[in-house]
């Protein structure tokens, strides 16, 4: 699939049943979908499940994506909605089974064993942020999205995206304190 193909072109081709276009859309948006789900659920495994289910839902209703150029924003709304539902179900379950301790923010650990300490510190830092700031900082600093892309996907202004990023970074750095920078720690 040529790199310059827009979402609109890929969607049109996917609607015609072209597997390559479907794969290109998945490849282009999967990481961001997982990041947004992670920002809400704060659980790596759950975030992956949420992202996959959101993709299935999105492709099931692909015809109803009225602005194909804004597919990312449309998809992220589905991801966020599903992630919030999962979070709500988890809270209800924790309450009904009187396992209130389970309502604590779950692990954000990636499946590999490396960098557990860094992840724990980052997770603790992320837990202190409001969901929107978590989404912005993950999409920008982890996925490399621009503020324009983030603004479009999250239905906020670019100025607000910058503001969220600035606040989130400051809070995370304060939280990390004198701890070694993530790139240096837990590597050896």
């Amino acid at each position: 699939v040529p790199a310059e193909e827009t979402n609109a072109v890929l969607i049109a081709r996917a609607l015609r049943g072209e597997a390559a276009a479907t794969e290109a859309l998945v490849r282009r948006h999967l990481r961001a979908a997982v990041a947004v789900a992670l920002a809400v659920t704060r659980d790596a495994a759950e975030a992956e499940d949420v992202a996959q289910d959101a993709f299935l839902q999105a492709f099931e209703h692909l015809e109803s994506c009225r602005e194909p150029e804004r597919f990312a924003g449309w998809l992220m709304r589905i991801v966020r909605h599903r992630a919030l539902n999962v979070q709500l179900r988890r809270k209800r379950h924790a309450t009904t089974t009187e396992q209130l301790t389970a309502a604590e923010p779950p692990q954000v650990d990636a499946p590999d064993a490396a960098g557990v300490g860094v992840r724990q510190r980052l997770r603790a830092g992320l837990d202190t942020l409001p969901p929107k700031q978590r989404e912005v900082v993950l999409l920008h600093d982890l996925e490399g999205w621009t503020h324009r892309e983030i603004a479009d996907a999250l239905d906020i202004s670019e100025v607000m995206s910058r503001q969220h990023l600035f606040t989130a970074r400051r809070a995370l750095r304060a939280r990390l304190g004198e701890a070694p920078s993530p790139g240096e720690a837990d590597e050896g």
Partner: protein, 110 residues
Amino acid sequence: MKDDEKLDLSALDVLASPARFEQRVSTLTARVLAARRQRASLLGQLLAWAGPCLATAAVLSALAWVPALVRPAEPPSAEAVLRDWAGRSQPPSAQELVLTFGASGNDARR
């Protein structure tokens, strides 16, 4: 550190491993395509059945009207005929009397 410097969040990257990412992409793509194929197949079956169903319904509907169209009109009752004669200025003819009472007489015998 400055707040406008990018944070290294790679430790949180769920799909950091290229192999893992590729596996997730191919699994998800396969699921999406399978779901779309299944949906298209269901829709196709519905559409395939819609034509014959509509045609059958139209034929049944037309057939339901046939008895009403071919059934002969009911002859007027004797009471109605008598009322008609009473309203006229002239008495009924012999032919009318035979037709009316002759038919009634047959019905009564049956």
